[in-house]
Amino acid sequence: MTGTNMNHDIETTITLNGKPVTRRIAPRTHLVDFLRDEMGLTGSHTGCEHGVCGACTVRMDGKIVRGCLTLAVQANGRRVDTIEGLSDSGELAAIQKAFHERNALQCGFCTPGMLMAAQDLLLHKPDANREEIREHISGNYCRCTGYQAIVDAIEIVLTQNRSGKKSQVTA
């Protein structure tokens, strides 16, 4: 059993963007706050902080999750990938390019979460149509309401991937 002591921080080891990180963490700390405040990874945003907006979307053990509905201590022994990790590795290059060229961001606050949700779709539902794209990002709010361009950008990459072409986006 781990951490039965009251009022004690819990030793937690997370494989963060491929590298093991061990810290003592207060149980109340959300994963997204740990990433931002303790690890300086401020790409994952804190929006609504109750699971509605999706700005804090990160990947845990390969699945997208809410960083504000996950305690950092729950990530003990797990792999966590953030927008920084996936961006640096080049995994998001095609979808980032499509977002850029389609103007699929305005203020940009929702963008990291959107990219995480979009990449999840690209990986797991390569045949998705526009309706399925909308369903997949339905948990990510864009308060600039730029959904049309976001759906366009995701659709472009899906189409590229299906035709096996290199990313060549035409506006």
């Binding site: 781990t2 149980p27 109750h50 699971g51 699945k63 999750v65 809410r66 509905l69 996950t70 305690l71």
Partner: protein
């Protein structure tokens, strides 16, 4: 907002869970996926002394079948149910309900048992379990007991779970030949909590309804089984007259409380609308 301070434990056995629950009494809360619990903590709607994380317990994460029974472990996630071919085959009502549960990032983590134990009046699974007459398996320090879903939900966020007990599984009779299912829900936005929803299951023989079960969500503190309407439908032929009869009878079963957005009358009207849709779907 941020959650208040609490302690955290992740026991490796049920025995340890029972010890912690006994030690901390009402100050302890069980944590599974946390997709409702952590939101309530963030909103400071509850302030437990300790969260007991049960996701390290063995044996609660399986979907299994034996003869005519399906068993869903408490820690099975919404996403696992959504992707299960066997669930789609044998419990189509549950399979139809899953996509209505929140969004993918939440379905990846949230659990079957969590949804049942939380007993949100607008949640999907409680109504499905009531419609299908499921049983819940509950473990306590003194052993296991089973409670029928129809006895389990006691009101808004209230269940038959006693202090010190843990919900460990749900058991369902698998859908028999001839039975059909329809899950219909109205929400303001996709993935939001339902305004009103309906889990419908019935035998359909020779173009007639039989053994109809209609369980509504968002229509009371707990799932509401529309018994008078089901009785009125028994043996009736598919068609608009039968649907109109069911819609007319519904007021005998439902007196939905108003919520922030919808009056009681609106909810009853919407319940009639989805009853029509569900009965039409069952007839197809």
């Amino acid at each position: 907002m941020k959650a208040p301070a609490f302690a955290y434990a992740k026991p490796a056995s049920l025995a340890e869970v029972f010890t912690l629950l006994q030690q901390h009494g009402e100050g302890a809360k069980l944590l599974a996926g946390g997709q409702s619990l952590i939101a309530t903590l963030n909103l400071r709607l509850s302030a437990p002394d300790i969260l007991v994380d049960i996701t390290g317990l063995p044996g609660l994460s399986a979907i299994s079948f034996s003869k005519d029974t399906a068993r869903i472990g408490a820690l099975v996630t919404h996403r696992e149910l959504e992707h299960s071919y066997e669930i789609a085959q044998h419990l189509p009502l549950l399979a139809q309900a899953v996509p209505h549960v929140a969004h993918i990032a939440i379905r990846n983590v949230g659990t079957f048992g969590g949804s049942i134990a939380m007993a949100d009046p607008a949640a999907e699974y409680p109504a499905v379990c009531v419609a299908l007459d499921a049983q819940f398996v509950i473990a306590g320090a003194k052993g296991e007991r089973r409670v029928a879903a129809r006895e389990f939900f006691k009101g808004m966020y209230e269940t038959a779970l006693q202090p010190g007990e843990v919900l460990i599984a749900g058991e369902f009779k698998i859908a028999a030949k001839g039975y059909r299912s329809a899950f219909v829900e109205l929400a303001r936005r996709h993935g939001d909590y339902a305004i009103v929803g309906l889990a419908a299951h019935a035998n359909t023989v020779d173009g007639r309804y039989a053994d109809v079960r209609l369980a509504f969500l968002g229509a009371g503190g707990e799932p509401v089984l529309a018994r008078a309407t089901a009785a009125a439908l028994e043996g009736k032929a598919f068609g608009p007259d039968t649907i109109a009869l069911a819609q007319a009878t519904l007021a005998r079963d439902l007196d939905p409380p108003a919520d922030l957005y919808s009056s009681s009358a609106t909810k009853l009207h919407l319940a009639r609308v989805i009853t029509g849709r569900a009965l039409a779907a069952l007839a197809q």
